[in-house]
Amino acid sequence: MTFQVRTTVFEGPLDLLLQLITRHQVEITAVGITGVVAEYLAFLEEMEHLDLDVTSEFLLIAATLIQLKTRSLLPAGDELDLDDELALIEERDRLLSRLLVCVTFKDVAALLRMRMQDGARYVPRTTGFDQVMRTPPAVVEIPATASDLARIVSAVLSRRDAELELDHLDLDLPSVEEAIADLRLRVGVESRFDDLISHCRTGVEVAAYFLALLELARWGLIEVTQRDWLSEIEVRRRDSGEIDLTSEWAT
């Protein structure tokens, strides 16, 4: 029996175990514990091989599975330590109930998705009062203290940083298109790139401007020079004939 590690999508050890078990149920021959354990361990090995972060959770479940498998291979007549036996049964029941809870929430999550998809089609008005009604309410209560605000901002800022780290592919990147428009306005007869990006607060913003610079140079609207890699990037506006080009970065 083989499996395609690269095409199997699972989230965490419980999910993996569930997938292995349910797949076996589809098959006609009951493979039983031995088959499931073998596959689970093979996955684990493959994951280590792929240099993935194998969490203790995976290992813990693997340990339980190995115990179950070992027990199943013992001849029926052998003498057993009753305490060990009970501990193993307890461990197995714990794993079983976790699997059940996991399946239950997966099922209800699918329902929530449907309800939310329906719900999203109802759009509320969020504009509030009309311009003329912008009289502040008599009493405003801020449901927080000054230290709460400090805590909230810290949370927001670290959340942003954490997100930069984890989901950098989903980053809301600064628009190169806007950088192009801005540069076209601001590039003088002669400018320094340093000055043009002096308002940028983050590296990705600088990156957007750099790409915009390359794009404008490609269009022949500006001329870019740099004596060596340490010196300043000089930008010079070329004769500004009205050229209307569409950028590759337009979305």
């Binding site: 149920q25 039983g32 514990i33 008005r125």
Partner: protein
């Protein structure tokens, strides 16, 4: 301005569901009268096939655009329309909805996978919020769902959530799970 118009204006400017009691106070009417007016307004909107509907959600009343107009709104504004949520986020949302107040560790335990990033996403989307801290080492935060969550699901309260028992897998599935993990000799 007649009373029905007054009700409509208040619901129009409101930025969240308005409870019946509050409507009564603002319009200086009894709650019974407000309830009658709400029924009338809702019926009128349905009758004239308006682009707007009245719904009772999250403990109050709010006007929404008609779901059938969603296609127009999608073309009109990207901010009015929402993105698809990952299944990790949805599963986490389900756990919070049924187990609130619940800590991140408890959520991760139930899902069998680290759920911190999903919790952050849901918090940012305003669907869950911190509900206090546990008296455990590190004072972990516990989370609950928000009014926006109810609103998005079209529920009036948490008691309208479908019972979890309906989603417990059938006996046959449980039996086969058990079979797969039976330690006895084969």
């Amino acid at each position: 301005m007649n009373r029905l118009g007054g009700l409509e204006a208040v619901l129009f400017v409101s930025e969240g569901p308005v409870p019946t009691g509050e409507l009564a106070e603002v319009l200086e009417l009894s709650t019974e009268t407000v309830e009658e007016l709400l029924t009338e307004l809702g019926a009128q909107l349905v009758e004239r096939e308006a682009g707007v509907v009245l719904r009772q959600v999250a403990g109050g009343w709010r006007l929404f655009s008609h779901p059938d107009a969603y296609a127009y709104l999608e073309r009109f504004s990207s901010s009015a329309t929402s993105r698809r949520m990952s299944s990790a986020a949805l599963e986490t949302l389900a756990v919070v909805a049924y187990r609130q107040p619940v800590s991140r560790t408890q959520i991760s335990e139930i899902r069998g996978v680290d759920s911190d990033s999903a919790v952050r996403t849901l918090e940012r989307l305003g669907l869950i919020e911190e509900r206090g801290r546990l008296g455990l080492p590190g004072n972990p935060a516990v989370y609950g769902t928000t009014g926006l969550f109810l609103e998005r699901l079209g529920l009036n309260g948490l008691d309208e959530l479908p019972p979890l028992a309906d989603h417990v897998p059938p006996a046959a599935f449980v039996a086969s799970l058990e079979e797969s993990l039976r330690p006895g000799p084969e």
